[in-house]
């Protein structure tokens, strides 16, 4: 298959893993679109919403590679995964150069130039590995055939920090592979993959486990791109469920405490709204 790939930043290890695993299965990835995190609009928005502290935090995250684990804890799950699969690249740019794929840095995936680039290669589908909310024009360009790995059970846990919210709200952490549509995580689900949470896990580790499960899930579910997309009537009503947003510091601390103590990790089925 001919596939397009998106990523939120150049050194996104999960996107590199996806690109390489798909290539090894015989798929061709072109183009690879990476969103530029350092734009005037983005900096201004971060400053306005999160102040200087937020801006510093974001800058550090970008400079030190978001998915890198604390050095004291050794290599992250993702780094180990890449090593185990003998993937040596640590940058998408590097990977694209090696495998002769078009690599482009865009300010947003919804820019006409990005859409034109995707349309020019006429891919069978698009693999979304980050890069912000997609608007209708780019969705239409690939006829809705966009696969995403969402780190929470859908439709219950929509939005940001999904794996964290799953634990806090007492739902079993699950990665859902689904098609992207116009809403926030409202597209038709394809398959779910449970994620094991253990006492002593940190939030970072939990997120990495979900990301890794998402990589495996997308590789397993890739055939869905060629199948008909379920009609809207068959999709569980996502609007019935409240959207999740980034955790407030105090709830992040609460979740860390829960993970450390191992309490509230016996996930029961419960109804959410």
């Amino acid at each position: 298959m001919k596939l397009a790939l998106t990523a939120g930043y150049d050194r996104a290890l999960h996107a590199i893993a996806l690109a390489e695993l798909l290539r090894r299965q015989g798929h061709h990835l072109d183009p690879v679109l990476v969103v530029n995190q350092i734009t005037f609009t983005r900096v201004r928005q971060t400053l306005r919403q999160q102040g200087l502290t937020g801006l510093r935090h974001q800058a550090l995250r970008l400079l030190t590679n978001a998915s890198r684990h604390n050095k004291n804890q050794g290599p992250s799950c993702l780094e180990r995964f890449l090593d185990n699969h003998c993937i040596s690249e640590r940058s998408l740019k590097q990977w694209c150069r090696k495998h002769h794929s078009t690599y482009d840095v865009v300010t947003t995936l919804n820019r006409p130039s990005a859409i034109r680039l995707v349309a020019a290669t006429a891919p069978d589908g698009l693999i979304y590995a980050g890069g912000g909310i997609l608007l209708q024009p780019i969705i239409d360009t690939v006829r809705g055939r966009i696969l995403n790995a969402h780190s929470g059970p859908l439709p219950e846990i929509r939005g940001m920090n999904a794996c964290e919210w799953s634990v806090l709200l007492g739902l079993k952490p699950t990665v859902t592979i689904h098609f992207i549509d116009r809403g926030i995580d409202t597209g038709p689900p394809i398959a779910t993959f449970p994620v094991r949470v253990e006492r002593g896990d940190t939030i970072e580790r939990l997120r990495e486990k979900c990301t890794l499960r998402g990589v495996e899930g997308i590789v397993q579910c890739l055939d869905a791109i060629n199948r008909p997309i379920p009609s809207a009537a068959k999709v569980p009503a996502a609007d019935l469920y409240r959207q999740c947003h980034v955790l407030a510091p105090v709830l992040r601390e609460l979740l860390e405490a829960r993970l450390r103590s191992g309490s509230s990790l016996d996930f029961q089925g419960r109804e959410l709204s």
């Binding site: 306005r48 919403q49 999160q50 102040g51 937020g54 919210w165 806090l168 709200l169 409240r242 959207q243 999740c244 947003h245 980034v246 955790l247 407030a248 510091p249 105090v250 709830l251 601390e253 609460l254 405490a257 829960r258 103590s261 309490s263 509230s264 959410l272 709204s273």
Partner: protein
């Protein structure tokens, strides 16, 4: 028990705000000074906010028993009894010793809150008797259509945020079983419910007709309905209609990391860029009240972010002393709501919201251990 760093931070901010409130009572003696202005200094005492400050002072007393909050509450209550009009009402505006002032519907409703808190704390019948007289005066002014007949404050129509008058009236009814008071407050609440738009907003929620509503008055409107739901035990009738507005405010606040715009039009367009800090705290309280029904930590998350924003804007430096612990009307301070002033009601709602948030989080922490 595990103590989360953010909860300790909330405790510190609560202590600071509480101390500032005590300053406001000492400066506004015998009531609580309406606000502190860095230019004009402390204002005179304000009956309306002194009234609804009393329950907050008692709640602070329960947490900090040695700080004199209960004495301040009783002192303020005695002053409010002294200035009650013969017809049971209280005057509007900042109190002036040589002026009686016009009776005010909204202010009378808020003073009732203080008297009922004193009734709970002291079991002295005098407080309830004064509250009953006030509620009777309020009830007598409500027409069949749910509007107060006398023109009040800046609007010829009864504004929607007067739900915050109807709810203390219901509290008086609950204690006295006075049917007339119950029916009048129900008429007011029904009028506001009829004003509910399809997008969850309530017409006439601004200070004046046609004006956008500051989050402060939107907070009053919604809180009045939520309180009515609690007092009548009828969530479906009064509580549920307020949740759509709260969900919209939650989403807007979350998307801006707790920096909720200061005012909204009926179509939810933002009309003020500055944050109304009082409104932030009031909406946080409403979200936490809703959460008691919805049992959803996502509402607590939004409330925490709203309060983080208020705490970030609080004056915590030790100099000048009059500002230590103060919460501005707007952020930035030159915003449209209470420009360049630190109102006592911003501090009151800051305390109320922090106490609710700490209590809610404590339950979660206990379940974690």
């Amino acid at each position: 028990m595990i103590s989360l760093p953010s909860m300790l931070k909330y405790q510190r901010h609560l202590g600071l705000t509480g101390q500032w409130l005590l300053q406001s009572v000492a400066r506004g003696n015998p009531g609580s000074s309406a606000y502190f202005s860095p230019i004009l200094g402390w204002s005179g005492p304000y009956p309306e906010t002194t009234g609804y400050l009393i329950p907050t002072l008692f709640a602070l007393h329960n947490r900090f028993p040695d700080h004199g909050y209960d004495q301040a509450a009783r002192h303020a209550g005695n002053w409010l009894l002294d200035i009650q009009h013969d017809n049971g009402a209280w005057p509007g505006g900042v109190h002036r010793a040589n002026r009686q002032g016009h009776p005010s519907v909204f202010n009378t409703g808020q003073v009732i809150r203080g008297l009922l808190a004193l009734d709970d704390a002291t079991k002295d019948n005098g407080w309830l008797a004064a509250a009953l007289r006030a509620a009777e005066w309020l009830a007598a002014g409500v027409g069949d259509d749910g509007q107060w007949q006398l023109q009040d404050y800046r609007s010829a129509n009864t504004p929607s945020y007067y739900t915050y008058v109807a709810s203390p009236m219901l509290d008086v009814w609950r204690r006295t079983e006075d049917r007339g008071i119950h029916d009048a407050s129900e008429r007011v609440l029904d009028l506001v419910l009829r004003r509910r738009q399809t997008n969850g907003a309530f017409a006439h929620w601004g200070f004046a007709e046609g004006e956008p509503g500051f989050t402060h008055v939107i907070g009053y409107t919604v809180a009045g309905l939520l309180e009515a739901a609690r007092l009548t035990g009828d969530w479906t009738r009064y509580g549920a209609p307020a949740t759509q507005a709260l969900e919209t405010l939650r989403t807007k606040s979350e998307l801006n990391h707790g920096r909720l715009s200061g005012a909204f039009d009926l179509d939810w367009s933002e009309t003020v860029k500055a944050v109304c800090l009082t409104g932030n705290a009031q909406i946080a309280i409403c979200l936490l009240v809703w959460e008691e029904q919805a049992h959803d930590l996502r509402l607590v998350n939004a409330a925490a972010k709203l309060m983080d924003e208020v705490c970030r804007r609080q004056w915590v430096h030790s100099w000048p002393k009059s500002l230590r612990g103060a919460v501005g009307g707007s952020s930035p301070l030159w915003g449209r709501y209470m420009t360049m002033r630190y109102p006592n009601w911003a501090a009151k709602y800051h305390c109320d919201a922090l106490m609710s948030l700490i209590d809610r989080l404590s339950c979660e922490v206990e379940s974690t251990t």
